[in-house]
Amino acid sequence: MSELERELKELIVRALSLEDLKPEDIDSNEQLFVTGLGLDSIDGLELGMAIRKKYGIKPVGSKEEIRAIFATVSSIARFIHSQRAI
């Protein structure tokens, strides 16, 4: 598991106050929304804000693209990585 993914899991637990969950309980490839972790759309928005605050990046694109970015911890990590590379 990459350092970035670990950071993200901590961020998810903290930003969304998922008290009963430890960062290591989240699988990097687990679907975050609806199924899997079962986050809702407001959680998604909160997560987006938290990620922007921490990493200073902006996910832009169509609904589908955004959904793909926020699908799993590893997809978010990939996106942050690609943004950093620019």
Binding site: L16, S41, G44, L45, L47, K58
Partner: protein, 562 residues
């Protein structure tokens, strides 16, 4: 889907030239559907003899005369069942120049989404009853579609995409007789269908028995247009959205008719300038009165609202017809005032802020805020009080794409008066971050607090309003939570010939707990409902939510259905 075109011919007591029409259409390779609309026996026999399903000609008979519209609709049904994607509608009396059919089909094939309409070049042989009808129609259609068409809508020689036509036929009760041709065209234009006009020669041969009656059909057509015009305010956004998009290419002569986008709104503006704000009001009042009298839903919702408002005001009175009529007329007046505000014709001096200090402080302070607006009073008027710099800081969140495009069109006319809009049917982390940046840059994000989202599954909560639970959107409070910014309310109510602007702080921050978010949101919504209640009781007649506000079905879905 592969392009398959057929021909539909409604016929009521026309059979003299039908054989020749069918022969020409067959030589162009078109299957033909003839709807015998209850013709007399002599014509019926001729029509029946043409029936030859194997030879590509189907004749369907109505036992009694049901009207041209009913016949065309039946033809559409048959054509769809037979797997056709497009249909050419042709009159049975031989007035249409079939030599144009191949050209119309070719254009349709290149633009399968478009309506291809014959634009007649008339000669003097046109009977008087028709000329009168056409003049009535020209006038109304220009108003209804907010554009001057290069051709008219009464010519029954046209080529429809069947799926879209069918959808429109299913969504509205369209005139069944001679009112069908113009009405369906207007409704198709409303639905966003592009139109290509093809000049066609039309002749009225001497002795021709056109089925058009001077009194009956002209009355029917006037009635039909009246009906369409009263549906107009509710269609306005959609029409403006769809109206005359610039043609994809100007390479075809038929595309010439596509020029002059936005001409209609300019004409409306000109009309406004010519007869002025009060002239416009005088023109709009009878329309509003008629709509009021014919729309039971509007009267009922008005009565329900006023009854509850009067109760809350402690008035022991039942709203009578005069109250609900005044309510509707107030809405007409609001529409004109809105236009005046767009045109920059509202004198800032007539708009008085009740709390200048708060407004000026927030403006001067340069902080970003979430601004909750409503359909009480006329928020557009507030533009007059805001200078251009301030206006440019406002971003209005709208629930539908229509409203957004509408605002963009507006921008083309008066860029300096425009307020940016952002569509929020789809709020994703991307748009959220964009909003956050607007707030951080000192922008004002405006959102309506009294309309629930378009789709039913979205976040709605119930809160007491005038003594009964009503649906309110959760969106504004969730946004406020995510944006971490102060929330203000703004109302603008007509008052003694001028306007009063109310601007007040709703919350410094709205922070929702992790758990029981919905309960917390409901509390905020209830608080908002109390403020809305207070302001609407200042003058209940300025409440412009003409639907059952306490209904549990989403408001926009209902408003959209109107």
């Amino acid at each position: 889907m592969t392009f398959r075109c057929c021909a539909i011919i409604p016929s009521h007591n026309h059979s003299a030239v039908i054989g020749e029409i069918v022969r020409q259409l067959r030589s162009d390779g078109l299957a033909v559907f003839i709807i015998d609309d209850g013709s007399d026996d002599v014509h019926r026999t001729v029509l029946e003899a043409i029936h030859s399903p194997d030879g590509g000609v189907t004749v369907y008979r109505f036992a009694v005369n049901r009207g041209k519209g009913a016949a065309v609709i039946k033809g559409v049904e048959l054509a769809i069942a037979a797997g056709f994607t497009h249909a050419l509608q042709i009159d049975a009396d031989g007035q249409h120049d079939l030599a144009q059919a191949p050209a119309m089909i070719a254009i349709s094939e290149a633009h399968p989404e478009a309506l291809i309409a014959g634009a007649p070049l008339y000669d003097e042989s046109m009977p008087r009853a028709r000329r009168v009808g056409r003049r009535i129609t020209h006038f109304w259609v220009a108003i209804e579609t907010l554009s001057i068409h290069p051709a008219d809508t009464m010519c029954g020689f046209r080529l429809y995409p069947l799926d879209r036509l069918n959808a429109v036929l299913k969504s509205a009760r369209v005139g069944q007789r001679m009112d069908f041709d113009p009405e369906i065209m207007v409704r198709l234009i409303w639905s966003g269908m592009p139109v290509f006009f093809v000049p066609v020669r039309v002749a009225y041969p001497v002795g021709n028995l056109s089925g058009f009656a001077l009194i009956g059909d002209n009355w029917r057509i006037t009635k039909m247009h009246t009906r369409l015009v009263f549906a107009l305010p509710w269609r306005l956004r959609q029409i403006l959205r769809n109206r005359r998009r610039p043609a994809a290419s100007q390479d075809h002569w038929a595309a010439l008719g596509e020029r002059g986008a936005y001409l209609g709104l300019r004409i409306l503006a000109l009309f406004y300038r010519l007869i002025g704000r009060y002239g416009c009001m005088a023109a709009v009042f009878p329309i509003a009165a008629y709509f009021h009298l014919t729309s039971r839903e509007q009267r009922r919702s008005s009565q329900l609202f006023l009854r509850r408002a009067y109760q809350a005001q402690g008035l022991a009175r039942e709203p009578g017809w005069i109250d609900t009529l005044r309510h509707s007329l107030g809405f007409a007046r609001k529409t004109v005032d809105t236009f005046a505000a767009w045109m920059g014709d509202i004198d800032p001096a007539i708009v008085k802020a009740t709390d200048h200090r708060t407004l000026n402080n927030v403006m001067a302070d340069g902080q970003g805020i979430l601004l909750m607006v409503s359909h009480l009073g006329n928020i557009e008027i507030s533009r007059a009080l805001l200078d251009q710099a301030q206006r440019s800081r406002i971003k209005l969140l709208v629930h539908t794409l229509h409203a957004q495009k509408f605002a963009r069109i507006l921008q083309q006319f008066r860029p300096e008066a425009a307020v940016d809009t952002i569509q929020v049917t789809e709020v994703n982390p991307g748009t959220m971050i964009a909003l956050k940046e607007i707030i951080e840059a000192g922008g004002w994000v405006a959102i309506a607090g009294d309309r629930t989202p378009v789709t039913a599954h979205e976040r709605v909560c119930r809160a007491p309003f005038l003594g009964h639970d009503a649906s309110f959107p959760e969106g504004p409070y969730l946004l406020a939570h995510l944006l971490e910014c102060p929330v203000y309310l703004m109302f603008c109510l007509r008052h003694k010939g001028g306007y009063r602007l109310y601007f007040e702080k709703f919350a410094d921050r709205i922070t929702l707990p992790r758990r029981d978010k919905s309960a917390a949101v409901a509390q905020w919504a209830a608080r908002y409902a109390r403020r809305l209640e207070r302001y609407c009781l200042i003058d209940p007649l300025q409440w412009y939510n003409f639907f059952d506000f306490w209904s549990t079905t989403p408001a926009n879905a209902k408003a959209g259905a109107q």
